[in-house]
């Protein structure tokens, strides 16, 4: 009984400490929807979710157009169209040696790929050149995608100084130091 009480007190103290040291980072990105914001936190270990992320191909579109995934995540590529599609990318980040072609598959089938390298993956379909999408592989679990107003919110960001990066299609990626202390706001203005 005494031991249980001690453990309970320790948990309460640790929990309170955590609450005090973790804040919320929020703000707006000038490029509005579809921007990926992530907090680079080298100290934390990135654990990719077991459940794969999903990108569908429907109506000659990748859906969604942009997703962000922690490094090590698996993405399932579906095909809901009655025409065959393929998915390929020529690089991850600036590393062209990481280019890959998933091949061709018809409606109802899927291909999966585990992204072990961080960076922006520009997805293409070589028979429908107008199709494009992005998988932004981030080296953290602290990330968000902006909503239609450009707003984002990242929970559980440890207090302290962090390097926060923002990416948006067609814009220059931007990084800046942000000191998080509780509820913190950081806005970004991206340029082409």
């Amino acid at each position: 009984m005494k031991l249980k009480s001690i453990l309970f007190v320790i948990l309460v103290v640790l929990g309170s400490t955590q609450l005090c040291l973790a804040g919320t980072l929020s703000g707006k990105v000038s490029s509005a929807a579809g921007s990926v914001v992530w907090v680079e936190d080298p100290s934390s270990k990135v654990e990719a979710p077991a459940k794969p992320f999903v990108i569908d191909q429907k109506g000659l579109l990748f859906i969604p157009h942009v997703i962000a995934v922690p490094v090590g995540s698996t993405v399932d590529f579906l095909n809901s169209d009655s025409v065959a599609h393929n998915v390929y990318w020529t690089k991850i980040g600036d590393n062209k040696s990481l280019g890959h072609n998933l091949g061709t598959w018809p409606k109802g089938e899927k291909r999966s790929f585990k992204f072990d390298h961080p960076g922006v993956v520009p997805l293409l379909c070589n028979v429908h050149p107008e199709m494009s999408a992005y998988v932004v592989v981030v080296p953290t679990t602290l990330f968000a995608i902006t909503d239609s107003s450009g707003a984002y919110i990242i929970q559980n960001v440890p207090d302290g100084a962090h390097n926060v990066s923002v990416w948006h299609e067609g814009m220059k990626q931007q990084s800046k130091q942000v000191t998080v202390n509780g509820a913190t706001t950081a806005d970004f203005t991206l340029t082409k």
């Binding site: 000659l60 025409v83 065959a84 061709t104 598959w105 379909c125 028979v127 429908h128």
Partner: protein, 544 residues
């Protein structure tokens, strides 16, 4: 004389300038928000998906509605089908006006030998028509619209607004409705029967109207002009202006698909004795039933007989993967691609050409004599496609019955008829006028934006050569030195964008001549000092 020489130059220039009529469909790009390359390898050449799209009635072969980014405008709720026949069957029109525009422009170069024809100009001091070595030329500015009205009814209209910068020189290309898969009303297998009606290019083995080549296929523009050189005993009363590339007015039944298996066509079309639509065939006594109120300004044909065209082809898809073999496109390692396939086909056209003469009847009274000369064109074709390499070819044999005019004594009236010729009273059968020829072409795309082309054309026509030997007899066939006119045409095309193309073509043209001597033994004219007038052409084309 000057007129004849002028005609040489005219046809020479025409041959150089006349580009293949080509069409692509930006309207579909807008409706489906997809690139031209979804349907075209090198516009307007269709890839396998483009063929399936066309076969389906200008829509996606399956789940079309999920691909349309611009929904169609409904002309009635689909639920109204239940109320038929008390309501109009509900259809639709495209949500945006499905219009595309096209323009092309050319630069051409003619070899030095073009000046050889200056010797035909006439007496000293006569100015010959000048053929420049280099020349810029405006091509077509065309408008086209196509789409689907629902109920598997497709439409297509295209028209050249201007040709070579002349606003009045354009004309209708194709304009038709296609009722896709009407066999379903008769419980026939899927795609077993389609119906097309209107004005259209015949379902040729290889389209001329939508060819990627700058210059047209020689055999498609071959009309049958019988030998009419007075220096030769052999004479032919054949002046059949029909060419396979002509547009036709009529109806066409077809079945099958272009992406695999069989495909057949039977078309009944107006007789076209002059080679062009006879829109001015009018009578003040028998007005056209259209009465001029619906575009009808007369009768498009001058004969009761309808010409008939038939074609059958079978495409063997040769993909090893069975699943892929039956798909619209093959599943390549890096993405969908055209199938590896072999198509074998044959075609047949039967018609009658009409010639009318002022003559007399058997008692000497003035009469109009009409020669109705049956003719046919028959041939075969093949296509072999492997990845981005396609080799295809066509052979054609043309045959025209020859009815020679005779006078009251039964003697042949020398051709061509002149004001001093004896009055013809009838016709007798002579040696048929025949020709044959075809082409073989190889298209290879080393990169998705580069098309390399090698083509060989050949047209073998004894009458054409005989006519050429009588230099005084104008021939549109580049004064052939030999019976067979061979032409090699390498080319390369670059897609600057999916809708902009730069094309280059070099034509090793058939041998020609301007010098004729008389064979001292036979007394017949002989052509000597042959030469080639090779030409090059560069073009820019864009659609939007």
């Amino acid at each position: 004389m000057r007129l004849k020489r002028g005609m040489f130059s005219f046809f020479l220039v025409l041959f150089l300038v006349y580009p293949a009529v080509t069409h692509a469909i930006p309207a579909f790009s807008r409706q489906y928000q997809t690139s031209c390359t979804t349907c075209h390898n090198d516009f307007p050449k269709l890839n396998d998906f483009g063929k399936a799209f066309k076969d389906a009635g200008f829509k996606f072969p399956a789940d079309d509605e999920t691909f349309l980014k611009v929904p169609p405008t409904m002309l009635g709720s689909p639920a109204q089908k239940d109320q038929f026949p008390h309501v109009i069957w509900p259809g639709s029109i495209p949500g945006i006006t499905p219009i595309g525009l096209r323009m092309n422009t050319y630069f051409q170069y003619s070899g030095q030998n073009r000046n050889n024809f200056n010797t035909l100009a006439g007496p000293p001091g006569t100015v010959a028509p000048f053929i420049p070595q280099t020349d810029f030329d405006a091509g077509f500015f065309s408008i086209f619209a196509a789409g689907n009205f629902g109920s598997d009814i497709a439409f297509w209209v295209d028209d050249d607004i201007s040709v070579s910068g002349d606003n009045s020189a354009g004309g209708l290309g194709d304009g038709y409705l296609k009722f896709v898969n009407i066999g379903r009303f008769f419980k026939l297998p899927n795609n077993a029967l389609h119906l097309r009606a209107g004005h259209f290019e015949l379902e040729l083995p290889f389209t001329q109207a939508r060819s990627i080549d700058i210059s047209p296929y020689d055999i498609y523009s071959q009309f049958n002009l019988g030998a009419q050189n007075p220096a030769f005993v052999k004479q032919q009363n054949v002046n059949n202006q029909f060419t396979m590339a002509d547009g036709a007015n009529g109806v066409e039944f077809s079945g099958g698909l272009h992406t695999g298996g069989y495909y057949w066509v039977v078309a009944l079309v107006d007789q076209n004795t002059s080679g062009v639509t006879q829109s001015a065939n009018t009578s003040v006594f028998i007005p056209s039933p259209t009465g001029g109120a619906n575009g009808g300004v007369g009768f498009a044909s001058d004969a009761n007989f309808k010409d008939m065209y038939a074609r059958f082809a079978y495409r063997f898809n040769l993909e090893q993967d069975r699943k892929s073999r039956h798909a619209i496109q093959a599943a390549g390692a890096t993405g969908p691609r055209d199938h590896t396939y072999l198509t074998l086909g044959s075609y047949y056209f039967y018609g009658r050409s009409v010639q009318r003469f002022s003559g007399t009847d058997l008692v000497g009274a003035p009469a109009v004599l009409t020669a109705r000369e049956p003719f046919y064109r028959v041939g075969g074709d093949f296509t072999f496609n492997y990845r981005t390499l396609q080799i295809y070819g066509l052979f054609m044999y043309g045959h025209d019955t020859n009815q020679l005019p005779v006078d009251i004594t039964g003697t042949l009236v020398p051709l061509p008829l002149t004001s001093t010729s004896p009055a013809p009273v009838g016709f007798v059968h002579g040696t048929p006028a025949a020709f044959n020829g075809g082409f073989i072409q190889a298209d290879y795309m080393p990169l998705p934006w580069i098309m390399t082309i090698m083509r060989w054309d050949a047209v073998n026509s004894g009458p054409d050569r005989i006519n050429g030997l009588g230099i005084n007899t104008a021939t549109p066939f580049v004064v052939p030195f030999r019976s067979t006119r061979n032409r090699f045409t390498p080319g390369v095309q670059f897609l600057i964008h999916a809708n902009i193309k730069a094309s280059f073509e070099y034509q090793f043209r058939p041998q020609q001549f301007v010098t004729v001597v008389t064979n001292p033994i036979t007394g017949l004219p002989v052509a000597v000092q042959q030469f080639r007038t090779n030409t090059a052409v560069a073009g820019l084309e864009w659609v939007f």
